[in-house]
């Protein structure tokens, strides 16, 4: 058993729902008790979908157990096919139904339906949401595209010269982090390059579209955590190569375009000629000087975290002081990347451990998931959300991709706006002694974070989704303790040092306090004086 307060990923059948919901004319018959229908609200509330997810739950009850749960499944399956008339169905079980072993695959087969039936085996007690999504997409492709597979060993016919190179865009799902906009942006890049898009899947694809996947020359894999197993199988079966670069950031997008050009038989250098993003200039403009060497901690879905760490370091000039992911399946990529930044990789789905590691590495900003946003708030550090799991805020009304050149523009804003602007930082320093100016005044760019860095942000809910939740849950719990009281053995501050500390701009004061205490402890100083404060400053100076 594993004690869990919050999880980064849902169960695998939620992953299957993300595939079914992304597609058209597909229906998922899920053997599950009534409580599992909560998953509908992920799509209707968080993603604001206008239709219910195409899922029929059998909603068996205790009294059905041991008698007719299998019959219940067959009836639900038959009724759903009649009512929704899908081109194909997915059948499977949620965690509870997995235990009663009704065999949805066999039961649905016995119905002799005249549409493809894709049975799903998603081990709920071992796997999680992303794995479930990947497995579901893979199984759909195997069953539906597989029906059109060439004979094993057959060579792929050469593309005729009068046809432009073509690809599929794979991986976009419902409830994906900016998938809606990424798919549009990447398609735009491919159009500009002259590469035809054969099928986009699972995003808004029908089973009939899946049947045509083999027509493309290669596959563009946007989200390996979802599309990699399917793309690997297509590579083996249809001899379709796949892209391995994720087009995040200017560098990532350029590399991606070169890779696509290579697969499409085009000139890679020409492919990046027209590349345009504001990020490189914005990063060079003088105001961005203050970004230099900002310590950032990156945590999220592995593929995204690796890509964002690269943007942070190479494109904004930050220093990556921590890198981690919650999806173990891609732990190796995180380890490799962490090694290049000289940091310890963090592979964990325990947010308490993540919080501990973030606090330890004393970053100036956190790039993470919604959970890290809350962690950062508790620690009083700015944060930008760069990865799933999703929240209602991750479905902005505006076009806001993370991929491609427009995505790079979005990332510049996302990663820089939580920080104070360069000029503002200097002005704050200059006027801090002014009587009209006080430590409690928060810089306008901090938005919701009120007060200075040393004041833990109030635990208030501020987003639409959370306001709803706040209503649901009543007043939030009391925030965690404020300033720690000096424990026995901990150094204490003398009055003059406390006073001197107050002269340091509040946004770096927390760090100065921590560093000084660490320094004092390490050098065996029991009472921190003004002297100690400046010794520590010299010691830790950049």
């Amino acid at each position: 058993m594993k004690l869990t307060v919050w999880t980064y990923e849902g169960p695998p059948h939620v992953g299957a729902m993300r595939i079914a919901t992304a597609m058209k004319d597909v229906h998922y018959i899920l053997h599950a008790p009534q409580g599992d229908t909560y998953a509908d609200l992920l799509f209707t509330m968080i993603e604001r979908r206008k239709t219910r997810p195409p899922v029929t739950y059998t909603t068996f009850q205790a009294r059905d157990l041991g008698s007719d749960t299998a019959e219940l499944f067959k009836t639900a399956c038959k009724d759903a096919v009649e009512r929704f008339k899908p081109q194909a169905i997915l059948v499977g079980a949620s965690c509870t139904a997995e235990l009663i072993q009704d065999d949805p695959a066999g039961l649905s087969k016995a119905l002799n339906l005249d549409i493809p039936v894709v049975p799903l085996e998603l081990p709920s007690y071992q796997r999680k949401e992303n794995w479930g999504a990947a497995e579901t997409f893979y199984q759909m492709v195997r069953v539906i595209t597989g029906a059109h597979a060439p004979a094993p060993g057959a060579e792929r016919p050469e593309r005729s010269a009068d046809r432009p190179p073509s690809c599929n865009i794979l991986g976009g799902t419902a409830l994906g982090f900016r998938h809606r906009d990424d798919v549009i942006e990447v398609r735009r890049l491919l159009d500009a390059l002259g590469v035809a898009v054969n099928v986009i899947a699972p995003w808004e694809a029908t089973p009939a579209d899946l049947a045509r996947l083999g027509d493309a020359d290669f596959n563009v894999v946007l989200y390996p955590e979802i599309a990699e197993p399917a793309a690997r199988w297509l590579e083996k079966t249809f001899k379709q190569p796949r892209t391995k670069t994720i087009p995040v950031g200017v560098g990532g997008t350029r590399d991606f375009l070169r890779e696509v050009a290579g697969l499409a038989g085009m000139d890679p250098d020409k492919a990046v000629e027209t590349a345009e993003s504001r990020l490189p200039w914005y990063a060079r403009s003088v105001d961005s000087n203050y970004l230099t060497g900002k310590r950032v901690f990156v945590f999220g879905e592995a593929n995204r975290a690796v890509a964002i760490a690269r943007v942070a370091k190479e494109e904004l000039g930050f220093e990556v002081v921590g890198l981690g992911c919650y999806n173990r399946e891609f732990a190796r990529d995180i380890r490799d990347a962490a090694a290049t930044y000289g940091v310890e990789p963090l592979i964990s789905d325990d947010y308490l451990e993540v919080e501990e590691k973030i606090a330890e590495s004393q970053p100036e900003m956190v790039l993470g998931t919604q959970m890290e946003r809350h962690i950062a708030k508790r620690l009083g550090i700015p944060c930008a959300v760069i990865s799933a799991p999703v929240h209602v805020q991750d479905f902005p009304a505006r076009f806001s991709p993370q991929m491609g050149f427009e995505g790079a523009n979005v990332l510049f804003d996302t990663l820089v706006h939580p920080l104070m602007m360069g000029l503002e930082e200097h002005l704050l320093g200059m006027f801090r002694g002014d009587f009209e100016f006080n430590d409690e005044a928060s810089p306008s760019h901090y938005g919701h974070v009120s007060g200075g860095v040393t004041h833990p942000a109030p635990q208030t809910a501020e987003s639409v989704g959370e306001t709803q939740i706040k209503v649901l849950a009543g007043a939030p719990e009391a925030p965690v303790a404020d300033q720690p009281v000096a424990a026995p053995g901990e150094p204490v501050w003398d009055q003059s040092a406390e006073k001197e500390l107050k002269k340091i701009p509040f946004f770096v004061r927390g760090k100065a306090r921590r560093n000084t205490e660490i320094y004092a402890k390490e050098s065996g100083v029991a009472t921190i004086t003004v002297e100690t404060l400046y010794d520590a400053k010299a010691h830790f100076g950049k």
Partner: protein
Amino acid sequence: MNELSLKPPMTPGCDEPTVLRERGQREVFCGLTGIIWMHRKIQDAFFLIIGSRTCAHLMQSAAGVMIFAEPRFATAIIEERDLAGMADANEELDRVVTRLLDRRPDIKLLFLVGSCPSEVIKLDLSRASQRLSAQLSPKVRVLNYSGSGIETTFTQGEDACLAALVPSLPAEAADSAPSLMVVGALADVVEDQFDRMFKAMGLDNVRFLPSGSADNLPPVGPNTHYLLAQPFLADTAWHLEDRGAKRIAAPFPLGEEGTTLWLQAAARTFGVSDEVFESVTAPGRERARRAMAHQSERLTGKRIFFFPDSQLEIPLARFLSREMGMVPVEVGTPYMHREHLAEELDMLPAGVRLSEGQDVDKQLDRCHADAPDLVVCGLGLANPLEAEGIATKWSIELLFTPIQGYEQAGDLAELFARPLVRRTRLEV
């Protein structure tokens, strides 16, 4: 006009309403969801779900646990090794509980909450709680109940939780004066209002279940009269009667009329004179009517359709039809406790369609055919209906907002008026 002369029931009691009973796909939460408000209410209790990743995901999706510094609920996720028998479930549970209590020394009451998977694998949580209780008492008491979706629907989780508490309530002295126990979680503000009114009527011995602290649970015995504040407490009531308590039959305290009848039922049981009752309740009744009047124009004549959710549907339909002039088209409820709802059912308009259980696709068909002005439904259905142009009210808000009593009657009406008002404001 005598303030206490109430409108007669619209349907005579002998005219049993017809109920559509359905068994198909249900679109409702399971009883685990009750933890979201129960853990706010009992402030030194912790709820440990023994379940799957799905349970944990449900809790965080429905409760947005991220807003809590550290919520007083968690899930012990059953893993493959637990199922394969590689780990001893009881040892695992002990380990998890120890870790939990180390972290939260403030916890006095721990609920082990069963889920669908723990029920299916027949994990004996009652024995586990006895064992743990023996180890941990007197510092921590350990109780158990099931919030599983195969046995409980949404608010039945509160029922199961309170029912688990009843056997451990202290015994009331055999010679004690008659006492009143108000049963069902109410917002603190509502509880205080009721407490003040009962005291003003001269009832000193009034207790609430659940109470804010595990140390302060109300005693129960043959001299206890209990008054249900919520319509979904069948098991709790049964357990209370088992300990000798007697139920005061009443409609539920929603709206001015419901609140008055509810208070009056208690007042009569305790021999409060009509004059005293009148003087205590008159200001509240007047304020409630004034507050509701702001909304009545918006609601009168509007047709309302309830999808089953919290079991509050029948009392709400009664309130909206009798006090706000709305026309209930269908009143769906996951489960109908005929005895506890007898007074409510008598006051529903004749001919209203009642449905118990659910077949969501068929119910949506009926809803489309009825084309109501307002639909009360869960979060999974609300946006799809709104996208079709049908105004909705999230039913879950009715559980998390203080709606009972005189001072909240206007707020309750406003909850239904708001979606309608919003539509008139938007010009895009």
